[in-house]
């Protein structure tokens, strides 16, 4: 089964329910979109991730009401260095979408979505702990996996796999 090349033209993808909803909302900055291996990825501007999540959750046609996962990818030494990744699932429509926010390497931070889905609580704490990305507005942003007094963020690419300490 040969791989189809990814579709990155946002014009060709405008029928996808998530893109329809997000492009209609004025407050959401839609940077980019990609359809690859049957999965939809939408790049959102750093300032509007919370608005985008609210829009998608409250979409009457296709409500993406379930936050499956929040994680992060470190593209060190490229800039923008971090990509925070949100996986949403629409339980009524059985549809998935992936939202991404690109962040710079210096003091990365973005708005928390815990006010949209409380589920983001542990996921965002994990990203904060292991990548050092701050989530503004998170009610309890503390380390979750590593000890409280740990130095560094283990999943960053400039953190060695072996030989630390």
């Amino acid at each position: 089964m040969p791989l189809a090349p990814p579709v990155t033209d946002i014009e060709k993808l405008k029928d996808h329910p998530a893109i329809v909803r997000l492009s209609a909302a004025k407050s959401v900055v839609l940077e980019d979109a990609k359809f690859d291996r049957d999965e939809m990825t939408i790049y959102i501007g750093r300032g509007s991730i919370r608005d985008a999540c609210v829009q998608l959750r409250d979409d009457p046609a296709c409500p993406f009401n379930f936050l499956a996962d929040v994680t992060c990818v470190d593209w060190y030494p490229q800039e923008p260095r971090f990509e925070v990744v949100y996986h949403l699932l629409s339980i009524p429509n059985k549809e998935r979408v992936r939202l991404k926010v690109r962040l710079d390497g210096v003091a990365p931070s973005l708005e928390s979505v815990t006010s949209v889905w409380p589920a983001a609580n542990f996921f965002e704490r994990e990203v904060y702990d292991l990548f050092g990305v701050r989530f503004d507005g998170h009610p309890y942003l503390r380390r979750i996996m590593m000890p409280e007094d740990w130095d560094g963020n283990p999943l960053r690419k400039d953190y060695p796999v072996e030989g630390f300490r």
């Binding site: 291996r37 009401n65 998935r96």
Partner: protein, 401 residues
């Protein structure tokens, strides 16, 4: 609407309450979960789970391994359903590669997965009942679990850390007599489930300890990211095997048990019914098991047969290259979700075009389910905390990774 736990510190608010540490070495926390409780007499005022005691950095380790070397690591994440972890990871990598898997391998994967689900639910049922005080159920459940572990040992050589699935198919052809032994087990198993139900379902003590305890509404469960039987017990009808099928699940007929009550008893009923459904799926997989190869036709990815490797130069070259250099995976990213015994297990694999994964992230169903705990326990009795923890079926290896 579900609430968060916005507590900066865990100090007793008034003199009348006290702080109690439960765990990390507490038999009812199923591993090393620490729960900090603020109690007022017998009532729980606040509860805060504290995790991370089993954090081993598996996601970081994966980045330093070849794609095929990650498979044994995935076993260690959730040690009660190693084959589900194997499946989720290999499906993600196969999706990245665009590999087509032969039907026999797919059906074997379904069969092994349903046996794993039965295995995991049996451990859950035994320990959960033990926590609440029904000691004998544990012995019944582990009797059948032992049979399943023997089946795993027969097929893969290992009782628990099976690593039986490979990228592109299966590790080994199932041995002669394996299917007969599986059938022997599956045909007797529904009567065994009846035995568990005789012990518990109509038992008034069991009912008093579980009915109406730790109730969760559907809205709260969705908002807090619950999945699997925990979500279905609150009346949300979703099962990834049926709704977003993978690995040939669309060929199987099964019911998805859903309860409306959302309490500990409803979660118990959902899982016990899932035992029967898994048994039925496994029987269907046995009956319809296709013939044919167990590995995909992709010499650059799948290790050649031992026989060919020793007699044919080309196979030897491929074998040498896969073992020493791995195989390059086209750049891209995939989120593959499967229905694990505990809920939605997801593997997010990012490839940068080399032979090692750039990033592997596991979406842990238990981690999300654990967030329900404050909602379940606050304002309730301290004895029910144990029932609530047991009912969400946590595995700390998966939570901490």
């Amino acid at each position: 609407m579900a609430h968060l736990n916005p507590l900066p510190t865990m100090d007793a608010a008034e003199d009348r309450t006290m702080i109690l540490n439960m765990g990390p070495q507490h038999p009812s926390t199923h591993g090393v979960l620490r729960v900090i409780l603020e109690i007022d007499g017998e009532n729980v005022v606040r509860i805060m789970p504290d995790i991370g005691y089993l954090h081993t950095g598996i996601e970081k380790t994966c980045e330093a391994k070849f794609y095929q070397q990650v498979v044994p690591l995935t076993d260690r994440i959730d040690y009660l359903c190693p084959l589900t972890n194997n499946l989720c990871y290999v499906l993600a990598v196969e999706k990245l590669l665009g590999l087509e898997i032969p039907p026999k391998a797919q059906w074997m994967r379904v069969l092994m997965n349903e046996l794993t689900r039965i295995n995991s639910h049996l451990v859950w049922l035994g320990t959960h009942a033990l926590d609440i005080g029904a000691m004998s159920v544990f012995l019944y459940c582990f009797r059948e679990r032992e049979d399943i572990l023997r089946l795993f040992e027969m097929v893969s050589g290992q009782r628990m850390m099976t690593s039986y699935f490979r990228i592109g198919g299966l590790a080994l052809e199932p041995p002669i007599g394996f299917f007969d032994r599986v059938r022997h087990f599956l045909e007797r198993f529904p009567a065994r489930v009846d035995e568990y139900e005789n012990l518990l379902t109509g038992n008034p003590i069991w009912g008093m300890r579980t009915k109406g305890v730790a109730r969760i509404t559907a809205e709260d469960a969705i908002a807090l990211g619950a999945s699997g039987p925990t979500l279905r017990a609150s009346g949300v009808d979703i099962d990834l095997r049926r709704d977003m099928p993978y690995s040939g699940y669309e060929n199987f007929k099964f019911k998805v048990p859903v309860s409306q009550e959302g309490d500990v008893f409803a979660r118990y009923i959902c899982r016990v019914q899932e035992l029967r459904e898994s048994n039925a799926i496994a029987l269907q997989a046995l009956d319809g098991m296709p013939e044919g190869p167990i590995k995909a036709d992709a010499p650059k990815v799948v290790l050649p047969d031992r026989e060919k490797m020793k007699t044919q130069m080309e196979s030897l070259i491929y074998h040498f290259k896969i073992v020493t250099e791995g195989f390059a995976v086209p750049a891209g990213e995939v989120y593959q979700a499967v229905e694990s015994p505990r809920g939605e297990m997801g593997y997010y694999v990012v490839s940068d075009g080399t032979a090692k994964p750039y990033r592997v992230h596991m979406r842990s169903a238990c981690l999300a389910n654990l967030q329900l705990l404050p909602l379940m326990c606050e304002g309730k009795l301290i004895a029910d905390v144990v029932a609530a923890i047991g009912s969400i079926d946590i595995v700390l290896g998966e939570i901490d990774r």
